[in-house]
Amino acid sequence: MAEDVQLYQFITIFAYSEVRMSALPEFERRERQQVKATTCYMCACRCGIKVTVEDNKVRYIQGNRDHPVNKGVLCAKGNAGIMKQNSPARLNSPLMRKPGTGRGEGEFVAISMAEALDILEARLRRIRETDPLKLAYFTGRDQMQALTGFWAGQFGTLNWAAHGGFCSVNMAAGGLYTMGHAFWEFGDPDWERTKYFMMWGVADDHASNPIKIGLEKLKRNGGKFVGVNPARTGYQAIADEWVGIRPGTDAMLALSMLHVLLKHDQFDWEFLIRYTNAPYLVVHTPGEKGHGLLVRDAEGHPLVWDMEQGAPVNGRLADITPALFHEGEVGGRPVRSVMALIAEEYLDEQYAPENAGRICGVPAAQIERLALEMAHVAFRESIVIEVPEGWTDWAGRKHYQFVGRPVSMHAMRGISAHSNGFQTCRAIHFLQIMLGSIDVPGGHLAKPPYPKHIPPALKPVKDCAPNTPLKGPPLGFPTGPEDLVLDENGRPRRIDKAYSWDAPLSNHGLMHMVITNAVKGDPYRIDTLMMFMANMAWNSTMNTAQIQDMLREQDEDGEYKIPFIVISDAYHSEMVNFADLVIPDTTYLERFDTISMLDRPISEPHAACDSIRQPVINPEREVLSWQEVQLELGMRLGFPALTNKDGSRRYKDYKDFIINWEKEPGIGFLSGWRLDENGNEVHLRGRPNPQQWERYIEHGAFFEMELPENTRYYRHANRDYLAFARQAGWVGSTDQIVIELYSETQQRFKLAGQGLYDGPMPTEAHHKQRLSTYFNPLPFYYKPLEQGRVDEEAYPFYAVNQRPMFMYHSWDSQNAWLRQLCAQNFLYMNRARGEELGIQDQSWCWVESHNGRIRVQVKLMEGCQPDTVWTWNAIGKQKGSWGLSGDANESNHGFLMNHLISELLPKRGDAEDAVTNSDPITGQAAWYDLKVKIYPAAAGETGTWPTFPAIKPLPNGNRSPGVLRYQTHRAVHLKRSLEDILTRGSVHDANQGAVAEEDEA
């Protein structure tokens, strides 16, 4: 005992002296610092952060280690939040276009928030009382679509959407119409277990940190990473194998790999029979009504051919023995099973690797080998997870294992931004499904509240009336032509022509068409365009220069064709310059916000999650978060959901609304810390809890509920999970979610195009042609539309763009730190190809498309497919915007490829000249369909072209410093003692280190 004490004392003393020896000063002013948890908004990834604030300035932003999304890490954007918060481009007060000056001239007067809200309220009240369609409300950097959609619904306009139509609707729609979830927000690779990962196209950053975390896990576990991308940039740098594909041909590559799998009998027979509609029978009567629809019994159940009974039976039954391949007759009609159609379609020689290789620019042998490698990993390296307590399948049968096929994939913008992106996305999902790798260990996992039934049971609302909320959501999922949003003459009812024959499944709207359509009055004119955080006068629009002209366009009577433009943004963007009224938003560090499961979820595959933002900085400017603005306007306008019967306000403010508003009993924006009947705190479903915000703040600004072990896989067919999900309000029933290889929705539209549908059908020839060509119940490859409408020999290059990792999904070319990483974009092209054309590295060149030309500086590189040129998007800025000075590289050497891209299809003198340059199925903006030619600029021709006049400074704008020396407190220096200087010799002296001695010995 005594010895112990002595030893303890010795250790204490020793440790103390150690500390004294290397004692360092206190570097931080902790008495003035506070650490608060909130959610990052530097991109769309929504990572948890801990912000150290010192005297209302940001000292440090660190990833929150406990947070489900980023688990402590933080990307370059998140780390640059200080410079976002301190950007001189921040707006300081509401602004109104100076009376007597023209729109876009940049003359503003500062007004108070009270005045601004009064102006907006009056305008909106008149529209709502007369014709709510005269308001078009579209949001760009939206992470609150549930709230903005709710607002639009209460206002009563159909003309609302977020930015998905020009971002990634093809991926969302492709997934939701196939397997009930999708890439990114609705699903993730099983990073812990996957052994083979294929990334398709530009995807560097849907999402940012999770993919980086996942890639490292994959490589640490010895998995293989294959990158399919025309450019070897970003994540492709660490890919084990790079497939330098021609842009827009990915469907052919995927389906050729599917061909290989079929040819070698490598598909998951059990998975297909139990979990997909592969055995369903399809009517095979080409040229007749009903062709290609599923064979159904009297109750509407799809039929399969039962091998035991030798008869057709309800395919939804358990314990039957469906024939996967079947051809025969049912009720006198010839029928074929879906799988028989799949084999017939994809075993065709057009999908053979030799043919696909020619189209994709990928060697046939590589296509074959990659397909077989995936088959090997899926079927020879399968994973089995034991589930001791068992899991119950959709039919009530108990199983004690989850069998996994550890092949996973990810795809995003590179696939999405083509006019064949929907079918391409489905083709990629087909590969995953054939390998049995959907929601299984090591495969692609859904994230709560997904998977949903296919498609989710929400139809777009068609009607609206003055002073009346919509009867449902403005956006939804059509399953046939009767669900389109058309007037009695078959013309679009929405300003963006979503859910019209131009783009029937445009589930995210077509924000990129709003300005053009409104200015042309096609389908009609509007009164007010209200946009939140969307730079539609610059990098977020196609055809930038002409769109700017349209925003200025006036009628003969001098009225603007879009009479009133309201913009909410926190920063002085190019779009702000075109506003008639600017409502300045807070920064992400200055507001309350919710990241809700009713919205774009942040869940992890095995945990249901949502989160909040809380203000960590006091704005000290006359700004109001757009959340608060919407609540305030809604209550002033008397929205039924926001006011009491007597017209009084139902909620105090945004926070109060978030706590107390319920979508259905027990379900609100936030799912953590609700209350049961006894007042105990419960999660997911429960009545409002007045302490809910406090609970989130106490728990690091997020809620995470891990799913029980037996609900983690096969959730489309897992009754334990489906019952749980139904209770949480995520799904409407516990019916099995049958994966739709064969899409009857697609076939209905195809039949409508062919004149064979019992229901609404298009009358115009080009609509008929588009429906019958591009809609198809099985995915296929077709050339992106622009390529069929321009002279491909005249425009030999594919032109695509992407964002650098440190700016993807960010708003930050203004960011003093991030712009040091890239202040000028170049046009990149393959070195050997450039040299062939006499194009020198860093020379100025003209790039020309059917829509115009631009002058850019070229860089030659190796990692670029030879027929492709590409650039970093949204680096180029209009002079004077974003707090940048006139000499900023972004305005003088940076450029936008947007000028070359038309929002309408290339002109060919036919009816399609007036049709959106988008996917004909979903309306997804076809940014990456662009074809260009490139040639050297003449001697002396340097600098970016076109250039734009400088935007004038704002009346109360901030000065941009010439030198920046940011710190939250004076540095506490470490000092070297004079003794050390005088007594220590050279680093080469032997006494300076053991290693040096050993080396010499």
């Binding site: 290397s22 570097f27 010192e54 440090y60 932003i61 660190q62 990833g63 980023n70 933080l74 370059a76 780390n79 980086k212 975390i213 490292e216 640490r220 070897r232 740098a237 660490i238 194998e241 330098g244 040819k263 009998d265 139990r274 314990d319 039957i320 996967l324 391949f325 490698e373 088959a375 090997h376 079927f379 990792m805 440190f806 203004q814 003093a816 730190w817 712009r819 040091q820 393959n830 590189m861 190796e862 940048l884 000499d887 410093p961 010439g962 030198v963 020396r965 407190h969 220096h973 070297r976 004079l978 050390d980 220590r984 680093v987 080469h988 280190g993 053991a994 290693v995 040096a996 080396d999």
Partner: protein, 231 residues
Amino acid sequence: MKLGLVIDLDVCVGCHACAVSCKQWNTSGTTGPLTDYHPYGEDPSGVWFNRIRHYEVGDYPNNKTINFPMSCMHCEQADCVDVCPTGASYKRAEDGVVLIDQDKCMGCNYCSWACPYGARELDRESGTMKKCTLCIDRIYDERLDPVDRQPSCVITCPAHARHFGDFDDPDSPVSRLVRERAGYQLMPELGYHPANQYLPPRLTRPVPVEDVKGKSLIHSVRDWVNKAVVR
């Protein structure tokens, strides 16, 4: 102790998170501020302790892209220290961290010429040389959680490509990584004995395909017709 970093080139995706994290920590850190010149104007630049270089090796289609983060290597034979005429530049005896006493530095640049790794950065406003301190103002700070007593770049790295530790301890994670993954020093031939080490890309495991090749289409079709699976 010999403190330093291990940087895993197999997983570094070149995202610059480490560089920006370093910037934000250190601009209010012991040698801050880290001045930025023309932050909103032409050719913006500034003081950064950590920079990521991107290279291509090999010609298309056999090209590879390399992301290469570089910061002070905290060399054993740090000539930057020897050449310093004022004694501002020093290598700490207790842990090998190379530092610059900001109150003794006169900004003469000798050290930056002596550094073969380009790690030293002159702050033109303060007139002093600055560089990576290995977050000396974090790693010993007992008011931080132990897990946070690491350089900011290591904590933030989304790909976990950066590791911090003591190379003198053969059992430390950094020593083990170097042993197991054949870690190497950058330009060892120059004789500076950098503490920081890099891990080369892992070799891709070959995935066999012979065992999944089918017999023949006819054979498959015969199987397909007769195969019964209960739903």
